[in-house]
């Protein structure tokens, strides 16, 4: 197998609070291959955004990476100086946030922001940077880019602003783009346009994408592989089609069937009882065991690790551990 572009191993992110340390991420591991779109899904509080923030070194203190490794093309990036990280952020890893209005500076024109970013990372003249910026805006689908580039962010609609943000994330030709809920603030008709642009432009430039979202529909249509997070732990990783149609982890299976679709016939939705535990009350053993219909002996005692399965899939569930299943034969 080729070398992964990004490799995350046993990542632990902790937030010390007055009532003790909260573990937002608990030994999360995954890889992103060059040019691949990895979808990161989970419910609110599962740790999706924290994973993205940890990779680009934007965890707000007092939160910190307590242990684990993040490697970009083999080079550690979780323990480097803020100075070195700044060179990577924007240049090698681009970022698209949820709300396009807060990720653009309202006091500068789009041209100023794009040119500044391009010249920070690429050695070129102002005129050259401007030419690049116009070409980029044109590519992300902004009509009359040469004229609109001198507008301020408030002149653009939500969808257009998100296009500008995508242009901004891609202007230094990064190898990886982290898109954190890029379409959540947008309407469906605009959402599909933005996903299309993001996907095409990254494919064209060979950039890998880590797409963080709670919308399984977006993942289904965009991602190559998907990683499912639950309570700060990885539940399942695998190719998107397999994970959606034949989920292995009971949580993933419940999540998929609880989503109403445009084609289903049944009258009732499948529901998972209960809600995701709070970070200060994660049950022992598998974090999902109190809500799981298939829980047995070891689930309440010991935490399952990600086990490799056929077809490049991984699942953290004791049901797939033959030895454990033999110990408790009645299951």
């Amino acid at each position: 197998m080729a070398e992964p572009l990004l490799s995350v191993r046993d990542l632990v992110v902790e937030f010390p609070t007055r009532r003790g340390i909260l573990r937002a991420l608990d030994r999360v591991s995954f890889d992103i291959m060059p040019g691949e779109v990895l979808g990161m899904v989970g419910e609110s509080g599962a740790g999706k955004s924290i994973t993205g923030a940890a990779i680009i070194g934007l965890i707000e203190p007092p939160g910190r990476i307590a242990s684990g490794e993040i490697r970009l093309k083999g080079q550690r990036i979780d323990n480097i100086t803020p100075e070195a990280m700044r060179k990577i952020r924007g240049k090698r890893i681009g970022m698209v946030f949820q709300d396009p209005l807060t990720s653009l500076n309202p006091l500068y024109t789009v041209a100023q922001q794009l040119i500044e970013t391009i010249r920070t990372h690429i050695d070129c003249s102002e005129a050259e940077a401007r030419k690049r910026a116009v070409a980029l805006l044109d590519r992300v689908g902004i009509p009359a880019a040469a004229r609109r580039i001198d507008d301020y962010p408030h002149h653009f609609s939500g969808g257009m602003r998100q296009r500008v943000v995508i242009a901004l994330a891609l202007c230094a030709e990064p190898e990886l783009v982290i898109a954190d809920e890029p379409t959540t603030a947008l309407d469906v008709s605009v959402q599909s346009q933005i996903i299309e642009v993001l996907k095409d432009i990254c494919a064209e430039r060979g950039a890998a994408v880590m797409l963080i979202t709670h919308d399984m529909g977006v993942i289904a249509e965009t991602a190559d592989r998907v990683a499912v997070l639950y309570a700060g732990r990885m539940a399942e990783v695998g190719p998107v089609r397999e994970v959606i149609t034949e989920a292995m982890h009971p949580y993933t299976a419940g999540l998929m069937s609880s989503i109403p679709t445009l084609t289903q016939e049944s009258d009732r939705l499948v529901q998972i009882p209960g809600a995701m535990p709070r970070l200060n009350a994660i049950p022992t053993g598998c974090a999902f065991n109190p809500r799981c219909a298939k829980a047995f002996g070891p689930c309440t005692v010991e935490r399952p690790e990600l086990i490799a399965q056929e077809g490049g899939r991984q699942v953290a569930c004791w049901l797939y551990d033959e030895a454990k299943r033999r110990e408790v034969p009645h299951v």
């Binding site: 309407d187 469906v188 008709s189 299309e196 289904a220 419940g254």
Partner: protein, 328 residues
């Protein structure tokens, strides 16, 4: 429909969005109005779920507010079981008791300083339906109906998760024994696994109490799952009304088709979505004629001049000139 529970006729609402008087005089500008809803008419039958879908700014929530009398319409009428709802003239209590509302954000719709029991029994006290002791017992019973524990009456809203709070909001809506509940985006603040719980609960309660729902949502798959009939709004106008599932198999209006095309689906059909051109125009100065014409693949001259009127289609009604000309 022979005997609808709710009848809405020619409902229109304009908001004054003008600058202050002095600015208008200095800048020589006229008053500006935003038309949130224009000429919306539909009926809701007893025991059915009527859904309104549309993108942000299409006027869904404005209709919901007018239906429950929180906002007075600029023109048009709302009739509930034969009686007019007129927010301007005041609604008689005997009528007001019979419809309730569930709001989108369960963090904002419950008073954080009241105990859950007080929140749920407030409608009972307001309408004078029971004495205080019975009202307390009723609050406990309603909590069990929505899947919480009767002992939760003494807790405060912050002790509950989002999904549980929405259950409390539903219990409150049920406490005055209404026939009709307006649900404004009841699950859009919730995670999918919790959304499934709330949607199932809403359906169970509908069967149990014979409720009629007006469901407002931007999520087409939720709407498909819940509704018997669906109205599609675009820029304040109803462009299509159709029977629930048929809307998804035989959409008539080009906007409906576009909306359905745009929804990402789990089905993994492999179809490449046709991204829609353009965005919703500014409602202060909507396009002339059919408001959808600048984005419509079927638009022709007449669409730019004349506002289309609803006409019968095999599955309901739609307002589109192209249907007349059988271009579609």
């Amino acid at each position: 429909m022979s005997d609808p529970l709710v009848k809405i006729d020619g409902l229109t609402r304009r908001f004054d969005v003008s600058k202050p008087w002095l600015n208008r005089v200095i800048e020589r500008e006229d008053k500006q109005f935003l038309t949130a809803n224009a000429d919306v008419s539909f009926e809701i039958g007893r025991g059915e779920t009527f859904a309104l879908v549309g993108e942000s700014g299409s006027g869904k929530s404005t209709i919901a507010k007018m239906v429950v009398g929180l906002l007075a319409p600029s023109a048009g009428t709302i009739t509930f079981d034969g009686q007019r709802i007129d927010a301007g003239a005041g609604i008689p209590r005997s009528l007001r008791r019979r419809f309730q509302m569930i709001f989108q954000d369960p963090f904002a719709s419950l008073n954080p300083r009241w105990r859950v029991g007080e929140i749920i029994s407030e409608p009972i006290r307001t309408f004078g339906l029971m004495n205080a002791t019975d009202a307390r017992k009723e609050a406990g019973r309603l909590l069990e109906v929505v899947g919480l524990s009767a002992n939760d009456v003494n807790k405060f809203p912050h002790e509950f998760s989002g999904g549980q709070r929405q259950r409390i909001a539903i219990a409150r809506a049920l406490s005055s024994k209404p026939e009709f509940i307006v649900c404004d985006e009841p699950t859009s603040a919730l995670d999918v696994s919790v959304q499934a719980q709330i949607l199932n609960l809403m359906r169970d309660l509908q069967d149990e109490f014979g409720l009629t729902y007006l469901l407002i949502s931007h999520d087409l798959s939720v709407v498909r799952h819940m509704s018997s009939r669906i109205g599609v709004l675009y820029l304040g106008r109803l462009v299509e009304v159709a029977q629930g599932k048929k809307l998804f198999t035989e959409p008539q209006h080009p906007y409906t088709r576009m909306l359905l095309d745009a929804v990402p689906d789990l089905a993994l059909s492999g179809r490449r979505r046709r991204p829609v051109e353009g965005e919703i125009p500014n409602p202060i100065s909507p396009p002339s004629g059919c408001a959808f014409h600048p984005r419509c693949p079927l638009a022709f001259d007449r669409c730019k001049q004349e506002i289309p009127q609803p006409r019968q289609t095999p599955i309901g009604q739609a307002a589109c000139h192209a249907l007349d000309h059988a271009v579609a």
